[in-house]
């Protein structure tokens, strides 16, 4: 492979891989505390993208109950200016986080209070996902909505540089996605590793019973976890939406499933694992040769099987000893 092609693949892989990473972190946070997978995470991802789109554009012209309604008759105040677009993205992610909190209150907490089987929490979170996805479809239809091309301001759509006589092209959106993801990872790493909230979260993850004896309100920190998880999921949704368009109510499903491969690859419940897993899968997909590109969506799941065979605890997970 030529150097220019190689670099191009690496750049593409890192950009999408970093989104996989922050999305999958949402799974990991909840898993490390509750030991269950929140299957509504993909739906929260979709919601984040739609929330931001609503703030920026404010109308859905194609279909659904909201058709013909224009939230901002004089144009959205949150459009055109990159700083304001960042604000819209932030609000979208916060609202997605609040939805995740709502999901925890409605679908997960009642289960815990009843001491129900963890499997049932899976089903109820899937039920929530079904409700969210179909509600979106009912409101705005199944069509693709594209963010305005000047969402990030008047920037060049792509940068290119030369290696020998070959050209490597980086879309500006990819650079922004990568940068935002890195910043998010750094912030999250700081919050979990260095702050009091993070310490409490880690304590709850280690042992909820002991944590509550030590005066940590377990339910409150579970809410915080869900908020962080939903925030990251919603942010990932907006980022992917700006790069590829908001591709209908079901566009979170593929990411939801790939996110599962990411966390298994990195190691269930491991935060650095989710990052490494996301980047590895992003890179692996970018290096799929063009003639096999139809199989690209299977790469993440093939890697999942490989890791189960050779290193079941995941790349960065710790092997645990069976105790009675």
């Amino acid at each position: 492979m030529e150097l220019s092609q190689f670099l191009q693949n690496v750049l593409n892989g890192l950009a999408i891989g970093s989104v996989y990473a922050i999305f999958a972190l949402g799974y990991t946070l909840v898993f490390s505390i509750l030991g269950i997978i929140n299957f509504a995470h993909g739906a929260v991802f979709t919601l984040g993208a739609y929330f931001t789109y609503t703030l920026v554009v404010g109308q859905f012209e194609n279909n659904g109950l909201l058709k013909g309604i224009n939230l901002f008759p004089n144009g959205s105040p949150l459009s055109g200016n990159p700083a304001v677009f960042a604000l819209a993205t932030l609000i979208g992610a916060v609202v997605a986080g609040l939805v995740a909190v709502l999901i925890e209150r409605l679908a997960f907490r009642p289960m815990r209070a009843r001491g129900a089987e963890p499997l049932l929490a899976l089903v109820s979170s899937l039920g929530v996902a079904l409700v969210i996805v179909n509600l979106i479809q009912l409101l705005v239809g199944a069509e693709i909505y594209n963010f305005p091309s000047d969402a990030y301001g008047q920037v060049q759509p792509a940068l290119s540089f030369h290696i020998g006589d070959r050209v490597v092209i980086v879309r500006t959106v990819q650079l922004i996605i990568f940068a935002v993801s890195l910043v998010m990872l750094a912030v999250l790493g700081y919050v979990i590793g260095r702050t009091k909230v993070g310490k409490a979260l880690r304590a709850v993850a280690e042992n909820p019973g002991t944590a509550s004896l030590l005066g940590i309100s377990v339910d409150r920190f579970i809410l915080i976890t869900f908020f962080l998880s939903g925030f990251l999921g919603g942010l990932a949704g907006t980022l992917v939406g700006t790069a590829f368009g908001v591709a209908g109510p079901y566009f979170g499903v593929t990411y939801g499933l790939k996110g599962l491969a990411v966390i298994v690859l990195g190691g269930l419940g491991s935060i650095p694992g989710a990052v490494v897993g996301g980047l590895v899968i992003g890179l692996a997909e970018a290096f799929v040769p063009a003639q096999y590109s139809a199989y690209k969506d299977a790469v993440a799941f093939a890697l999942l099987f490989v890791i189960l065979l050779v290193r079941p605890q995941g790349l960065l997970g710790r092997a645990q000893i069976q105790k009675v």
Binding site: S124, G127, A298, L304, Q313
Partner: protein, 313 residues
């Protein structure tokens, strides 16, 4: 009577079919393993039947066997799905916890992507014009296939529960480590339970391909995995009637709710949430619970944590 069957025959057969798919997930659950692979094996079984019944490569065999071709497709589907079940189950079932669920989600997705891209499975369009089994004229006649299969499966499940193997499944479900210590090899029995489910889903698929006339990659999706899981958990996962009741009910509900039009799927999702909250033992479990005292509750506010892989309490 014939009018009734003509109008509702398709729905009734679909309800029985759903019950069977629910049972295919019930077997691994007997050994405490959550599998979401049923749609994958169902799709594979259907593709096997569709290819054997339409592909020119098999025309000689079809001419020789005549109607005998249909049972042959069931057999081939069962064998292939069983083998693939071993292949998928062994790596995932060495581990404890949620790994089988995740591996089976991956399996269903891989199978879907592959069948979308292969020429032999008809790509995105799928396979058309699959002949009706045994020259059936009406859809309800498929009850003659699915009905006996359901009965046989229920009998098999009942006998299995009373056998040494069934006791081993339950021992593993209750406490894998203790079962291991008592000389019950967990991996072997977990794989066995998974393969039984795979074979059943494959046969149901092979019977369904002629029933549906066409077969494509939409038969085996993550959505289908969820639907089947819901059949079992809402019907009741601790009793053989649970998946049957759940499958039949959840298949019928969308039909009954048809007047809700666009709100139908939303209501469906709400049903899942509410049922998992208020019917944790499933419908059949709740009916039994009327006679039995409820199980002791775990202390509130401590989250129920799934055991980490290889970890213990």
């Amino acid at each position: 009577m014939s009018g009734f069957l003509e109008q509702y025959g398709f729905l009734i057969v679909t309800m029985v079919q759903a019950g069977l798919l629910g049972l295919s997930l019930y077997f691994p659950l007997q050994a405490g393993q959550l599998s979401l692979a049923s749609p994958g094996f169902y799709a594979l079984g259907g593709y096997v039947a569709a290819i054997m019944l339409t592909n020119p490569a098999f025309s000689g065999l079809r001419d020789t066997l005549g109607n005998g071709m249909f049972p042959l497709t069931w057999l081939v589907a069962a064998l292939l799905c069983g083998l693939l079940g071993l292949f998928v189950g062994v790596p995932a079932l060495r581990l404890r916890g949620i790994y089988l669920a995740l591996a089976t989600i991956a399996f269903v997705e891989i199978l879907r992507v592959v069948s979308l891209n292969l020429a032999v499975t008809g790509g995105a369009i799928g396979i058309f014009g699959i002949p009706q089994a045994f020259g059936f004229q009406d859809r309800w006649q498929y009850l003659w296939l699915f009905g006996p299969l359901l009965l046989l499966t229920l009998l098999f499940a009942r006998q299995l529960e009373r056998s040494r193997v069934g006791r081993a499944f339950r021992a593993i479900r209750e406490d894998e480590l203790a079962a291991d210590a008592m000389g019950v090899p967990p991996t072997r029995y977990k794989v066995l339970a998974f393969v039984i489910g795979a074979v059943l889903a494959g046969i149901v698929g092979a019977m369904s391909a002629p029933f549906l006339n066409t077969w494509n990659a939409k038969q085996g999706t993550f959505d289908a995995s969820i639907a089947i899981l819901a059949f079992v958990l809402i019907g009741g996962s601790r009793n053989i009637w649970g998946p049957v009741v759940g499958g039949a009910l959840l298949t019928a509900i969308p039909e009954v709710l048809r007047f809700l039009a666009d709100w139908r799927l939303i209501i469906n999702g709400l049903v899942l949430v509410v049922a998992s909250l208020y019917l944790p033992q499933g419908i059949v479990g709740a009916l039994q619970g009327v006679r039995r005292p409820p199980p002791p509750r775990r202390p509130p506010s401590v989250p129920a944590v799934v055991e980490a892989p290889g970890g213990g309490a």
